[in-house]
């Protein structure tokens, strides 16, 4: 019985029932604690036919497996959304995702092997350093070698792979010094072991590899976690749709991917249009926010081109298919986006360049030492070269910077800023131009009731009529009305003949009177951001209600602050009046305002600026966001923007932009400190090694010491981040 009630209540997941799969994955938002988990898992008992329900809170994925003969997928989805969680169906796991998972398992196992071996090697070498008998030293060293083999051959695979890459492409990477150190060290230690000459360094090599592997694994996982919105593709290809079959002269449900140009499909209210197509029905109302960012319903006429992703507001539409899947406008968008996301590198070119120079010079120096000593004292040459390579191994670049980076990403995420790409941390300080979108970014992006004109003329009865009229309306103004009146605790009344005409308004009868809410003749208002509707009784205008998208209170102050850092621009798809008014309100110079910009124009605009940050929320901003040096998506953004952005906020508002600067500043400071420290350390160490003051044993002790130092400083530097930001803002508030 409950099932029937629910199915009549919510229909938005109905399309799931057309899919053949009995197992589906959803992206779920809003699960935070044990209570949420308990509420969801209660469904396991409640719903008959639910075979598996599993939630992964770290990836925010929900797995649902059902017995199709007993329960519908939409029913399960509805039950969960009724609990208050937002669900988004995901595509079946892609090949790349499975590969990613296996890769994670492999690197974790590699790390485990390395840790187990290193631990045991350390136990053995501790005995050696403590002064074991020569006979035992030999046994312990041999055992160390055997224990080192799994690290060398299995765990160190990523380093061998990058060596292979160097061999093929001849492009120097930072792993090259590590490989050199490992090869040289292993060869030398093995030679010494066989000839019983002492100087065996398997312990230091094992430790080096373990530390490097561990820090890289950590960084990898953190980056993956924030990149995993990537698979949130809309179900454009997966859904089924009613298609006209000429043979049987009926509409039948068929998968969208089998459609071709010229097919005729029928779509219903609340469905997302799965294809680009031409309208066959007389007229249609669609919400095209996904593509244009315009939240008002749009009217389309016969033979107009409709775009995939638009939400259908009319009851039933016939459409002739033009384009399907990745050739649709939104499909092309998404493709462009994923190309850009995958084209990004991990380290900045600057850092990479430094590492390259460093790597080449160290290896060159080491070879010179070998050549110089080869004729006279080869062993001495090897010792000095090895000491040099181990000491100069750019641990600051290879270890501390990634670690600091991942710590910064983690701290930022606690402040409500998700940074998907570590490069952003370096880029932010270079930004000279800030480009803002209007709706949803500087404003709340929602219609809200502003005021009545004339004020306080309407009675409680009028409010109740308005509430009843607007409650079922689909227009954004209807929702705004309902929200405003619900806050006033207005009750409902029973109307006859309720009707909604798109583009006109809503109407109904009560006790012989005819009430209507529709657009009113324009009254004077100094604020072009507001739109108005009139409340009519028997065709006589009683009052006008003004609605508007409210400006966020922090918008003005953040723009004032940003102006000190560079130019601020406003880029919007809305008309010039609205945009200019907003610009005046928040203090953006009018010559920096660009209105009525199409998504393509936005991209051009971004391309014309150097070092710019784009802050937006709509799908129409997505490509612009991804093109910008630093793309920022605010909370509540469209999925396309989240995908495109380098940074997104999980907390409402734009003021977190300033926290982003703070985090980046502290990050840069910490990294710079590391650079200086390790440059100095390495320079002194290298000099000492070349001159022969340091043998590989001392180098092996000094290397972890320096690694440990930079690890400590990066931990400490990042640990204080929240405190620093807090203090900074506190002192500012006291001053102002």
């Amino acid at each position: 019985m409950t099932a029937n009630m629910l199915l009549t209540q919510v229909n938005s997941f109905d399309f799931l029932n057309h899919l053949p799969e009995s197992e589906m994955r959803f992206h779920i938002e809003g699960v935070r604690c044990q209570n949420c988990l308990g509420k969801i898992y209660e469904l396991r008992q409640k719903l008959d036919g639910l075979i598996e329900l599993h939630l992964n809170m770290s990836t925010k994925q929900l797995l649902v497996r059902i017995d199709k003969s007993k329960i519908k997928m939409s029913h399960v989805a509805n039950e969960i959304s009724i609990l208050g969680y937002t669900l988004q169906p995901l595509q079946t796991p892609s090949e790349s995702e499975k590969i990613q998972k296996e890769k994670n398992h492999r690197s974790l196992i590699g790390l485990g092997v390395a840790a187990a071996s290193t631990g045991n090697i350390m136990l053995l070498s501790a005995a050696n350093y403590a002064g074991a008998d020569p006979g035992y030293v030999y046994i312990f060293d041999s055992l160390s070698f055997l224990l080192f083999l799994p690290i060398l051959l299995y765990s160190a695979k990523p380093f061998w792979q990058s060596f292979l890459l160097f061999w093929k492409t001849k492009s120097v990477n930072i792993d090259l010094t590590i490989i050199t150190a490992v090869v040289l060290g292993t060869g030398f230690s093995l030679y010494n072991l066989i000839h019983k000459m002492g100087f065996v360094y398997f312990d230091s090599m094992a430790m080096l590899l373990l530390l490097l592997l561990a820090s890289r694994y950590m960084l990898d996982r953190i980056q993956q976690r924030y990149l995993n919105t990537n698979y949130l593709n809309p179900l454009l290809l997966e859904t089924a749709v009613d298609v006209w079959l000429p043979e049987s002269k009926t509409f039948e449900n068929r998968p969208v991917k089998n459609l071709t140009r010229g097919d005729i499909i029928q779509v219903y209210k609340d469905q997302s249009l799965p294809v680009d197509g031409r309208l066959i029905s007389e007229n249609a109302y669609l919400n095209t926010a996904v593509i244009t960012g315009e939240s008002q319903p749009q009217k389309f006429l016969k033979s107009d081109l409709l775009f995939a992703g638009s939400k259908i507001l009319s009851n039933k539409l016939k459409i002739s298919v033009e384009k399907v899947g990745s050739t649709t406008r939104i499909g092309e968008y998404l493709k462009q986006l994923s190309d850009q996301i995958h084209g990004e590198t991990q380290l900045t070119s600057k850092l990479n360049g430094m590492a390259k120079v460093f790597t080449i010079s160290i290896i060159a120096l080491a070879s010179l030492l070998l050549i110089y000593f080869a004729p006279s004292n080869f062993s001495e040459g090897v010792q000095r070269a090895l000491a040099l390579v181990i000491l100069a191994c750019p641990c600051a670049l290879g270890l501390a910077v990634p670690l600091t980076q991942s710590l910064a990403l983690m701290k930022a995420s606690r402040l409500g800023i998700i940074i998907k790409n570590g490069n952003v941390l370096h880029e932010v300080s270079k930004i000279q131009n800030f480009v803002f979108d209007k709706t949803g970014t500087l404003t709340y992006g929602q219609f809200e009731f502003d005021h009545w004109s004339p004020d306080s003329i309407l009675t409680e009865k009028d409010f109740s009529i308005i509430m009843s009229l607007e409650q079922k309306a689909r227009h954004p103004i209807g929702k705004a009305f309902t929200k405003y009146l619900k806050d006033k605790n207005t009750s409902l009344c029973k109307l006859d003949g309720w009707m909604e005409v798109f583009g006109k308004g809503v109407s109904g009868n009560l006790a012989g009177d005819f009430y209507e809410i529709k657009s009113a003749p324009i009254f004077y208002s100094d604020n072009p951001l507001l739109s108005s509707v009139g409340y009519y009784k028997n065709n006589e205008l009683l009052a006008v209600a003004y609605f508007g998208d409210q400006i966020r209170p922090q918008s003005k102050s953040i723009i004032q602050k940003l102006k000190k850092r560079g130019n601020v621009f406003l880029l919007s798809g809305d008309n010039i009046n609205q945009v200019q008014h907003l610009a005046k309100e928040v203090g953006i110079p009018l010559e920096n305002v660009k209105a009525s910009a199409s998504p393509e124009e936005k991209v051009q605009f971004i391309d014309s600026l150097n070092y710019c940050a784009m802050i937006g929320d709509g799908a129409n901003d997505a490509v612009a966001i991804s093109k910008a040096h630093v793309g920022v998506a605010v909370q509540g953004s469209m999925i396309a923007s989240l995908k495109a952005a380098d940074v997104y906020f999980t907390i409402e508002g734009v003021e977190h932009l300033y926290h982003l600067f703070d985090v980046c500043e502290i990050f840069e400071k910490t990294v710079k400190g590391h650079m200086w420290f390790s440059a100095l350390y390495n320079l002194l160490g290298a000099l000492a090694a070349i001159l022969g003051f340091i043998n590989p044993l001392v180098a092996a002790l000094l290397m972890p010491a320096s690694s440990l130092t930079v690890l400590m400083t990066s931990l400490w530097g990042m640990k204080t981040i929240q405190l620093k930001i807090f203090k900074k803002h506190l002192s500012k508030e006291v001053l102002t």
């Binding site: 604690c33 044990q34 988990l37 308990g38 898992y41 209660e42 396991r44 008992q45 639910l50 939630l55 992964n56 809170m57 770290s58 990836t59 998972k101 994670n104 398992h105 974790l108 196992i109 485990g112 092997v113 187990a116 631990g119 045991n120 136990l123 035992y136 055992l143």
Partner: protein, 54 residues
């Protein structure tokens, strides 16, 4: 001192055993989700068992 000839292999075997356990757990996917299990443990066993028996 010859006790060390037993101790070292024993410690290595022990290490190997735990490494094996770690590899098994990783392949089982026990480290894929480090957030949910800590909450899952607090949910009444009965609910989950009931579903499994059906």
């Amino acid at each position: 001192m010859s006790i060390i000839l037993i101790m070292i292999p024993a410690s290595l075997l022990l290490g190997l055993f735990f490494l094996g356990a770690f590899i098994w757990a990783t392949k089982e996917g026990q480290f894929d989700d480090l957030v949910t299990p800590q909450y899952e443990i607090l949910i009444e066993d009965k609910q989950i068992k009931d579903v499994k028996h059906e």
